[in-house]
Symmetry: C3
Subunit: 176 residues, 3 copies
Amino acid sequence: MTAARSRSILVLGGARSGKSRFAEGLARDTGCEKIYFATGRAWDDEMRTRIEAHKADRADDGWTTHEEPVHLVGALRSLDQPGRVILVDCLTLWVTNLMMEEGRDVGADGAALAASLKELEATVIFVSNEVGLGIVPENKMARAFRDHAGRLHQAIAAEADEVYFIAAGLPLKMKG
Amino acid sequence: MTAARSRSILVLGGARSGKSRFAEGLARDTGCEKIYFATGRAWDDEMRTRIEAHKADRADDGWTTHEEPVHLVGALRSLDQPGRVILVDCLTLWVTNLMMEEGRDVGADGAALAASLKELEATVIFVSNEVGLGIVPENKMARAFRDHAGRLHQAIAAEADEVYFIAAGLPLKMKG
Amino acid sequence: MTAARSRSILVLGGARSGKSRFAEGLARDTGCEKIYFATGRAWDDEMRTRIEAHKADRADDGWTTHEEPVHLVGALRSLDQPGRVILVDCLTLWVTNLMMEEGRDVGADGAALAASLKELEATVIFVSNEVGLGIVPENKMARAFRDHAGRLHQAIAAEADEVYFIAAGLPLKMKG
């Protein structure tokens, strides 16, 4: 295995767009040791079922799984090593978790994450849902969520080496 | 008319994105005999009005219309001929209809459709709505619908020769 | 300052996609006198806060602000001059305002706007929200809104010299 140049990559897409599968392919192609970084919390049975299905898909495929719903920046630092690729799946669940924690400033957390990318020695791949292309939600919390997600995507994309938009499993390269 | 090479094409886009008009242009450019394959069912007056408006737009423009809301794979086979182009409008209405039928496995139907593409001698063009780029719907049925639609798009896109994403009437070519 | 060739440009994107910032950069790059054309009306405190935040962002940055919620075509004509760039932010708010006015035909207003573009001597940049890529809204007014917005985008894109789709602050050029 040759040491791959460390990169940061954002993979954006809609629900069931194949963004996680595309990101897994990018991770595999690095030839690095693969860390799957899950941000999801099981709030109900539906989500628990989805999380377990994803885990089963990765089983026997060489991934080490790490779970951390809130403290993403610190956890990335603790996992950071040359020769590793860390796939963070996904940023939108992280935003949801931050919004549930009392007293957090989601924008500041996002800025800290964006600022940390240049220091990482591992390649890091962020998967996230684009959620801002529908009608304005009637629910105020949903509006705040898509504002937070959109701003985070801009902040990460500005620092990332590569950005992809995924639809129907196919990538459009937007940067890099 | 020269015999065009048979192709399968997926045209994805949002509501009122001009995806049907773009697909009709692709069909016209083949020079083949044009079959318009409508999957829609009129559930209410609003939808009936839309369907009739679409039919009127195609009137006197050389299209033969075929309607089948559920048994898409079999109907495509029965219409299949070299020198024909079949425009299926649209996959998302087909998914809706499948979900309304008792005891169907939407994923299996989608996989059967994807698998059938290589055998067709006609050029087939699928129009479908991208519905996964907004906020997670509160309605469980709506969430299931967008999961089904997203998985179907991935399955069709993997087999299709060309895939387009349409916005504001303009195409982004994603494959082919 | 050299006289820039007059162009018409459509910048489409989701909520918090960075579309206004991208459009402001396009305007700055023309080297022309900058007019910020706001179509928004403050319906509630949340929107008032957003509008004021946007104004503050543009403060001390060389923009003259003009506000007109309904009579866009006439106002553009009255502001039209060579050597000017007019940034209209945004078309979706204009559609909302037209829908609130009694007795207006939104489609006719949109067609008149599209038809006026060729006559303008200023460069005009339209910012608009793509809202048609989520689940069909249950609310009938919301469905009518996204139909109007989608048709307007197609009409403007057909006449515009350049069209961009923005995600995560990054542009995909769709035309020009």
